[in-house]
Symmetry: C2
Subunit: 416 residues, 2 copies
């Protein structure tokens, strides 16, 4: 076996032996080292204010008001343009965030620990569907919900988890795959399974049954509640895969709404970027492709671990967003992803593929050789600030990222 | 269209337009008209004590102690043999019960109302897996659990439902079919979906968070919690289909552990019976076919409405109990049931069959002509009293029931 193969097998081994457990919810400021006032973490590779897309600028204005750094959205926009805020990728702070991916001091973050390696990853709590900050929403309804997450739901889940032994996530995902979830655009089953585990702990630690009822209704009413858990899980699994010398395995894929970026094990934290593409999919009534922002969010971490578009065969309902909703059509997506991955996950299997494991370990060499781009299941944001979600669909990772990464790894290997 | 066809189309119409809603939980004695002291309702067609199977006798001894009609199991057995108890089928009291199907005065029953027709059906609360009364269990652990259902969980769910608008069940089942449930041996998804709907109402009406935590843990820890809801739903859908003159559609299938019985629309409440068969399936470690009791329970009402074995294609995991766990093998079961049914349910569809509706409306003429017996997914009880569940599998409805029913309908039509 040559050294690249050997490095990639080590990467796969680390991926498959990860043991992610949801252990706590705490304010980001208490757990993300280095996060301070007027710092705003966002999805995707680094980007400055001027090049940010509409929904990300909208979210930034909203989160600045939420944090008390501006009295209203207009002031927040002026401050942002003047350089009053520091912007950094979530990925640089052990965090991930869906769509715009806002993470700031006072937001509660869920903490997933990889019990095999001890590292922890963090993600905010999913806000639900429609007009929400991750899709660029920033009005009073959006901010009120964030305050409720900060003051009620976050502390409740944190208290519940702290008096439990944590909720192991691998088994929940395994079961979700047999129940129609792919853990990116469909999390119905896993959200329910998580609620089953969390409900009794929430009740045991509840001071107030009215607040408890609100919390149970919020979790129970949000089919995507598990998405943010799956994302923190994804990063907790992939972080130990960084920095394996000579490995060509992708450790992160992410988008900031302007650029798509990937990281590869053999070159550590270097981002290889290309302009992000436009999703193809279904729009909510009254919206269409002209309203859509290009693809956005750290949520592609779930594809990086073999879920989302890679597990499409498990979720024909999601394939239906692009008019491919039969079981056989959905299977084609997963089969294509097998061409660009080095293994399968024997613990995460898909019934309709006769229990084949999800395609795992994206090798940039296979992507470049085959010209098969990773398929990503995604939500679609309105391109203007403050508007929110307009649809959901599928997008391709740009091949240029993988080509650039291959050059980067070759240089690192001294074979440029 | 001849009059049988016309009657059967009317039967199908009533089945497809039923609107079952879970509305309450109350003690059986308050809602089952005519149910009195020392009356024991059981699964299946009528049967006297001497011919009852081991697990049913065991359950009767247990429930007599639970109700305070005997001080211990031995006294209960003596009383039963002396004729101290009145035995009746659940089906004669607007009720259904899984396996042994014990229903008595002080047990809480869930109430499902068919909002289209106004009729109500009832079923006890599912006890969980293992050593439970429905599988013939009767020791202190079993009786303590029944007391907790009576004193804590039943009243809690009742209070929660009464202050809600009820939980519509058709949509939950529709979603469950896309999540790997067939609503007989697999209810993981529907149990979670029901908990999502019920959780906030339980919290709103909870007096005591410790008891609430217990209730949420019990529901959340029982993958089969929804089975008994599905059964009451099945009867609520099928009862309005009884008594359509000339119809050859099956309105109930049920087993008492000794005999299998069916009812047919054109002949009302007449049971057509035959000796019940032995399930084929998987046994828990340490048990095998020699330990098994023949098939038992009112739960076959779910097959009568197109679920369970009829919806096997939705649930390859259940087909796995008989070594047929691939998607294609599971589909064969559903396809066979299409041969003996007159329609499909457009609201209950199966993704892996490209969203074909579940086979609906068993026509006894098609069963007799094709010699294809309804496939039933079932649990397997130990044949001795007091032992409990030993496995799960698949069983065929005996063809002799359908042949006898065909003669009965012919006689009713005056064409014998």
């Amino acid at each position: 076996m040559d050294r690249i193969e050997q490095a990639n097998q080590e990467a796969l081994r680390r991926m498959l032996t990860g043991d992610p457990v949801l252990i706590d919810v705490l304010p980001a400021g208490e757990v993300l080292s280095g996060l301070g006032e007027r710092m705003i973490l966002h999805a995707g590779p680094p980007i400055e204010w001027a090049r940010m897309c509409g929904p990300m600028q909208g979210a930034i204005a909203g989160i600045a008001v939420f944090e008390g750094w501006a009295s209203d959205l207009n002031e927040a926009l002026s401050l942002a343009a003047e350089g009053a805020f520091d912007f950094h990728p979530n990925h640089d702070f052990d965090a991930v965030g869906p769509m715009t991916g806002m993470t700031t001091l006072r937001q509660p973050v869920m903490i997933v620990e990889n019990r095999t390696t001890g590292n922890r990853s963090h993600c905010t709590i999913n806000e639900g569907l429609g007009k929400v900050m991750r899709f660029g929403g920033n009005d009073a309804e959006v901010l009120d919900r964030l305050r409720w997450l900060r003051d009620v739901l976050g502390p409740s889940i944190g208290a519940a988890l702290r008096q439990s032994e944590g909720i192991p996530l691998k088994a929940i995902v395994a079961r979700g795959l047999t129940m129609g979830d792919e853990m990116h655009q469909r999390n119905v089953a896993c959200s329910g399974l998580l609620l089953r585990a969390l409900g009794p702990e929430l009740a045991r630690t509840a001071a107030d049954t009215a607040a408890l009822a609100e919390s149970l209704a919020f979790i129970g009413g949000n089919d995507q509640f598990f998405l943010n858990v799956a994302m923190a899980m994804g990063k907790a699994i992939m972080d130990p895969v960084r920095d394996i010398e000579s490995s060509t395995i992708v450790t992160a894929m992410s988008r900031n709404g302007t650029e798509f970026g990937i990281r590869v094990s053999g070159t550590g934290d270097t981002w290889y970027t290309a302009p992000v593409e436009m999703p193809e999919g279904l729009y909510f009534p009254g919206f269409g492709p002209d309203d859509a922002n290009p693809d956005m969010g750290d949520s592609t971490i779930v594809e990086t671990i073999g879920l989302g578009g890679f597990a499409m065969a498990a979720a024909p309902a999601v394939a239906g967003f692009v008019g491919a909703g039969t079981a056989s059509e959905a299977a084609l997506f997963t089969q294509a992803m097998s061409q660009i991955t080095i293994g399968e996950n024997p613990e995460w299997t898909i019934p309709s593929l006769d229990y084949q494991g999800v395609p795992t370990g994206i090798d940039i060499r296979l992507v470049v050789e085959s010209n098969v781009a990773p398929t990503i299941n995604t939500g679609i944001a309105h391109k203007e600030p403050g508007r929110g979600q307009v649809g959901a669909g599928v997008v391709k990772a740009p091949l240029a990222c993988f080509e650039a990464a291959l050059v980067g790894v070759a240089e690192a290997l001294g074979v440029s």
